[in-house]
């Protein structure tokens, strides 16, 4: 009870996000530090999902925040900060993977799993060990192209809405839907194949 009361009072005293953003835009380093605290876990998680490597994820996260700090003066506070930040981190992750030549994405056959899934595939996934399934999904995500992977990560992991994804990646909502559908189908097909089932 006391913990909740202290937390409530502390939260009440803390500056709101719009206020912090205004101060950060004006050059307040402390305010930007608070913003980093607010978003660091989410940003790191996106980076980690995008590259599946801890070291790279930390580099991406740090670079993304540095980029944001240097470009903070150009940020329009009328827009949502997290979509701006997600765009920075996804682009940073894509650029990093490209610069390191780790792009091993496989363009899945559209017809590979794009249609209806068979009961065998669903059974394979549902009966699979959890850790194995997680590993298989992660591998499948890594195989996605950056465009599909970013949409998949933002939707499945960050649970952003289609509209937010569209704003983040600066694409149309219809494009988000089509890319997400392709990404999901590709992942599922890869997972089923990885698990030895029939697609």
């Amino acid at each position: 009870m006391i913990f909740h009361l202290v937390y409530f009072l502390t939260a009440g005293l803390a500056a709101s996000e719009p206020e912090l953003l205004e101060r950060a835009v004006q050059g307040d380093k402390e305010a930007f530090g608070e913003i980093v605290r607010m978003y660091e876990k989410r940003v790191f998680r996106v980076a980690r999902r995008m590259c599946n490597c801890d070291d790279d994820a930390w580099d991406i996260t740090q670079d993304a925040f540095i980029k944001a700090m240097k470009a903070m003066h150009s940020f329009n506070t009328e827009y949502r900060f997290f979509t701006w930040m997600y765009r920075i981190v996804t682009n940073t992750a894509i650029n990093l993977s490209r610069s390191r030549g780790r792009r091993a994405e496989v363009e899945f056959d559209e017809g590979y799993g794009g249609g209806g899934q068979t009961a065998t595939a669903d059974t394979t996934i549902q009966e699979c060990n959890r850790d194995i399934l997680v590993s298989a999904v992660q591998k499948a995500v890594e195989k996605l192209t950056p465009a599909l992977r970013s949409v998949f990560v933002l939707r499945v992991d960050q649970e952003l809405s289609y509209e937010e994804i569209a704003e983040t990646l600066d694409i149309a909502t219809g494009t988000v839907m089509s890319r997400l559908n392709r990404a999901r189908s590709s992942v599922k097909s890869f997972v089923v194949a990885e698990l030895g089932g029939k697609p």
Partner: protein, 356 residues
């Protein structure tokens, strides 16, 4: 899939829900998809606060945009200052372009003519403006004004003649000033003996004209006429010399020949401390514009003599008035008598020279 993401609103969403209830294949598909994604989403472990703190520290150490811009601004300011020094500070002796311009440019000497009644004496007044002189001294040698006025400056022991060659030529109703004389203060341990006679003065005047033949040494020119004003200015750092002759200027002076000539005659004072002043010439008669050039030279040589005779006095600035009474019409106007030289307070005194 949009239905799985709750991105489809009613009534289409209700229609899909009804279908999935009765379609095993679609139900299995959605369940599998959600299971796969939720397993992957939940398979996450935070790396820990230590790593985040380290990352925050790295971000904090990075130079932010506002600081980087400030760095650029400071760098630009330093570059601008350096360029300014190179442009406006010519050599190591501290001679600035502004001081050179002061030497080369006519100062604000006004020569005006006014009608006077017949019973009034023809006269003209030469004034050296103290304020302008102090400003010039401050600008060139960075001598505080209070020191200049109060006589506390080390450079205030002696009055030294400065490169001066005031020449007045008649051109219709206009009179052109080609150059002007000035005086400066400096230390004077090896000051030469002051000139005693007008002949010596005239001899030195001849040398002065020779030595100041360089156009760059002409301190200025101006127009004089009825209701008009002319410019006369003088200045620059000069070595010590006798009356009307010392025209040495700074090492950057452009007239090398005249400098060499002067150096052969005049010892160069090692410490040059003084600066230029501005001479204000006021003609009080229409006849004043008829003054011949040599007469003006003689007049200033007279003033030179006056100041030279008082070289050992602690005079920082002289504001002097020269009055002539009927002498301007003649050719021989060199003879003059100092009628009033205050014993003290030369910083703001008025020295009057009257011609008989």
């Amino acid at each position: 899939m949009a239905w799985c993401d709750n991105e489809i609103v009613s009534p289409e969403a209700n229609h899909i829900s009804e279908h999935i209830k009765h379609c095993d294949s679609c139900r299995a598909f959605t369940i599998t998809q959600k299971q796969m994604e939720s397993v992957w989403r939940d398979a996450w472990t935070d790396p820990g606060e230590v790593r985040f703190a380290k990352m925050r520290s790295s971000v904090k150490q990075e130079t932010p945009w506002w600081r980087s811009q400030r760095t650029w601004f400071i760098a630009a300011a330093i570059c601008a200052a350096y360029i300014g020094v190179k442009v406006f500070y010519i050599d190591g002796t501290g001679t600035s372009l502004s001081s050179i311009a002061l030497q080369e440019t006519p100062a604000s000497v006004q020569v005006t003519t006014t009608d006077i009644s017949a019973d009034q004496d023809e006269s003209f007044v030469v004034e050296m403006e103290e304020t302008a002189a102090v400003e010039c001294a401050e600008e060139e040698f960075e001598i505080p004004q209070d020191e200049l006025v109060s006589g506390q400056s080390e450079a205030s022991e002696v009055i030294e003649e400065l490169s001066v060659d005031l020449s007045l030529t008649e051109s219709g109703s206009d009179v052109v000033f080609n150059s002007v004389e000035g005086y400066r203060l400096m230390n004077s341990e090896d000051s030469p003996e002051p000139l005693e006679t007008a002949d010596e003065v005239l001899e030195q005047e001849a040398f002065s004209r020779t030595a100041t033949a360089c156009p760059t040494e002409s301190a200025g020119s101006g127009m004089v006429g009825e209701g008009l004003s002319g410019g006369v200015g003088g200045g620059g750092s000069a070595a010590y010399g006798s009356v009307g002759t010392s025209i040495l200027r700074d090492s950057d002076h452009q007239c090398d020949d005249s400098i060499e000539d002067a150096q052969t005659v005049l010892p160069v004072q090692s410490e040059i401390q003084l600066t230029a002043y501005i001479v204000l010439v006021t003609l009080e008669s229409k006849e004043d514009i008829q003054i011949q050039r040599f007469q003006w030279n003689s007049l200033f040589l007279m003033i030179d003599t006056l100041l030279e005779d008082n070289w050992n006095r602690s005079v920082e600035m002289l504001v002097f008035t020269v009055s002539s009474q009927g002498i301007l019409s003649g050719d021989n106007m060199v003879e003059g008598t100092v009628i009033d030289i205050p014993e003290a307070g030369y910083g703001d005194c008025t020295v009057t020279v009257q011609f008989f």
